[in-house]
């Protein structure tokens, strides 16, 4: 028993757990946003782009002001703007939700790259400040759990808060009921006085904000730099986590931690040089996504009206 405990508390292992949470947080934040829009019946395929732009704007504002929270706020607003744009395409214009989302993502790759060069030129890569970690008194001293959950960046604690709030909003509030009704049967929801279009727009705003914060986590907390295309598919992995965690905040935490662990594992084995080419380790999170998506997700969980356009006052179109 003592052996197990000393193994789990050794710096290497507790470092691994701590890194798992740190690497899980960005995709977890984006996936939490996805709960709102998918339960309201709209797809947000644009998560990747929203994360990337959040990552750039968050980094830039954090760099200028030296404040983590102003950076996070700016990233959230960037996400909101993109969420409204994508919402306009899908909710109002009835554009194909997948095509519109992919287009937003591709646009953001170019836009982020352009704006980065506009802000910083082609010279040295600026480094952001290190915003440090907060140790939660008492809780951070618990073996294993302490380093994993309670010796983290303040942004991780914000993530816990969002998990708790989302759980209450979606499952315990009347507005949460309106969201779920909008996603399951918008026509019925409308007859009960729910404004379907407004509910869907608000859900896209929340989703965009959380994607933006998730992206900012990458550049502000995880690395302290911005890199072209630094989200590297995390917005799409978040979509897979959303399905695996069944659009439930606690389910998402578990699913995201699994991906964080896979990411932490591949980073560590690259350093250890165990004979497997590093390229194969890099594949790990992507392979895991395919396996999870194909073999561990139940299709029947989808909200009935997910991805279906709703025309106000005129029934479904």
């Amino acid at each position: 028993m003592n052996d197990i405990l000393s193994f789990l508390t050794s710096p290497v292992v507790s470092g691994f757990f701590s890194a798992s949470m740190r690497l899980a947080a960005p995709i977890l934040l984006a996936a939490l946003g996805g709960i709102y829009n998918e339960r309201a019946g709209v797809l947000n395929i644009g998560m990747e782009g929203m994360m990337l732009m959040g990552s750039l704007i968050g980094f830039t504002i954090g760099h200028i002001t030296g404040s983590l929270w102003l950076g996070v706020l700016a990233a959230a607003l960037t996400g909101v703007l993109l969420g409204l744009i994508l919402g306009f395409f899908t909710i109002t214009l009835d554009a194909n939700q997948v095509v519109a989302g992919i287009s937003i993502n591709l646009l953001c790759v170019g836009l982020a790259s352009f704006l980065y060069r506009l802000f910083y030129g082609l010279g040295l890569q600026p480094r952001g400040s290190d915003y440090g970690i907060w140790n939660i008194p008492g809780l951070s001293q618990i073996p294993v759990i302490g380093p994993m959950f309670f010796q983290q960046s303040p942004l991780v604690y914000l993530t816990y808060l969002i998990i708790a709030v989302s759980f209450i909003v979606v499952f315990r509030s009347s507005w949460g009921l309106a969201i779920i009704a909008t996603g399951e049967n918008p026509a019925a929801a409308e007859t009960l006085g729910v404004n379907v279009v407004r509910t869907r727009y608000i859900s896209m705003v929340i989703s965009g904000a959380l994607c933006g914060i998730g992206g900012a986590f990458l550049s502000l907390v995880a690395t302290s730099v911005f890199l072209d295309n630094m989200t590297a598919g995390r917005g799409y992995i978040a979509l897979a986590i959303l399905l695996l965690g069944r659009r439930n905040p606690l389910g998402l935490l578990a699913a995201a931690l699994m991906f964080g662990a896979a990411d932490a594992l591949q980073l560590r084995t690259q350093l250890l040089n165990i004979g497997i080419p590093f390229q194969f380790m890099l594949m790990l999170p992507y392979l895991l996504t395919i396996v999870v998506l194909s073999f561990f997700v139940r299709r029947t969980d989808n909200p009935a009206a997910l991805g279906v356009h709703f025309k106000q006052g005129g029934g479904e179109s």
Binding site: F88, L93, G110, S113, L239, I290, S294
Partner: protein, 369 residues
């Protein structure tokens, strides 16, 4: 047509009708989107403190200013057209193949491997063999996502994106490992034998026969989509899979075969890059052609010949962008932004209809009061 109807026997067609025929709503909205995107792009360029007109002039000169730049634009248009037609076939069936990039890499590495392995074959055997290998490899790579969609109901969109990352890592391993050019520190294979190179088709330029392949493929694809049963089934499944199932069409087979055909064409684009400009496989053989191909397909209105035209436009934009960057110092990424704005405006063209409807309604109300 033994008894021509009064409609067709009319002796002359008015100029207005021709104009209507040429500027159908599709083409008009396409051109409108391009113009709008260029205007927004001009704003971004002005942000940089550069006169947008000068920048656009540099862009155009770099793209189509002389014979060599035209050739360079067409070289870039070739993979965009091939992969774009692939994306078109998948999208027509309602399958979201976002994996052209990975399929291109797999096609390129597989055909290069065959080209090096059978280096003693004559060109007229080796090149077809490499093309077949590229198409097979790209098709099978896409088929992974296709099978997972058909069997497990897994989203092909997410899976094809994940396969892109896996493909680029796999290629990176191969060109730094087993297939690396002996004695070279670079991530590349040995050079292909000369008979495996695509011949140059325009004197004093690098323009290669890949363009001819792309043109032939676009014609074949148009014929297949509109003149064969398989093509008909693809379009029906894309419009309404439930009705297609009810009509006895094997929907799953159509989804899988369309996705695999799509991957095969992206793989062929990879062959064209390896055997055309590069003459070998290199680690970063594509600067995102597979992603740009999606926009090219949408801009071409999912019509193979339209896709070919869109590919030439985008090839020009990509080549012109580098000229513009060096001439007036505007980051070439602004062109990427313009490219994707074109598509967003195209998707958002419904907005104009909404505005028109609203105006119409207000007019009616006014008349009533």
């Amino acid at each position: 047509m033994t008894q021509p109807s009064p409609e067709t026997s009319r002796p002359s067609v008015s100029f207005g009708q021709i104009l209507q025929r040429v500027f159908n709503p599709d083409l008009a909205s396409t051109l409108g989107s391009i113009v709008l995107a260029m205007i927004v792009g001009a704003g971004l360029i002005a942000l940089r403190g550069v006169n947008p007109l000068l920048a656009y002039q540099a862009l155009f000169d770099g793209a189509f200013g002389n014979l060599n730049s035209i050739a360079e634009s067409l070289i870039v248009a070739t993979p965009l057209a091939l992969a774009g037609i692939g994306v078109t076939i998948a999208f027509r069936a309602g399958v979201f193949n976002v994996g052209a990039e990975g399929q291109l890499y797999i096609g390129a590495i597989a055909s290069t491997y065959v080209g090096l392995k059978f280096a003693n074959l004559p060109g007229y055997l080796l090149i077809p063999l490499m093309m077949l290998t590229a198409m097979l490899a790209g098709g099978l790579w896409a088929g992974i996502a296709g099978l997972l969609k058909v069997w497990m109901g897994a989203s092909e969109m997410i899976n094809t994106i994940m396969l892109n990352y896996i493909a680029t890592f796999l290629v990176s391993y191969l060109v730094h490992g087993p297939l690396q050019e002996p004695g070279s520190p670079l991530g590349q294979t040995a050079m292909l034998p000369a008979q495996a190179w695509l011949v140059h088709i325009l004197p004093r330029t690098r323009l290669h026969a890949g363009l001819i392949i792309a043109v032939i493929v676009s014609i074949i694809a148009a014929v297949v989509l509109w003149r064969t049963t398989w093509g008909f089934h693809i379009r029906v499944v894309g419009k309404n899979p439930i009705a297609a199932q009810a009509a006895g069409i094997k929907v799953n087979w159509i989804l899988l075969s369309a996705l695999m055909a799509s991957g095969a064409l992206a793989g062929l684009a990879g062959f064209g890059e390896a055997a055309g400009p590069q003459h070998r496989m290199i680690e970063y053989i594509s600067p995102g052609y597979g992603y740009t191909a999606i926009v090219v397909a949408l801009l071409g209105q999912l019509n193979p010949l339209g896709v070919l035209a869109a590919a030439i436009l985008f090839g020009g934009l990509e080549v012109g962008a580098t000229t513009m960057e060096s001439a007036v110092g505007v980051p070439s990424a602004v062109v990427t932004v313009i490219q994707y704005l074109i598509v967003l405006f195209l998707i958002g063209r419904g907005a104009f209809d909404l505005i028109r409807q609203k105006l119409h309604r207000e007019k009616k109300l006014e008349q009533r009061t």
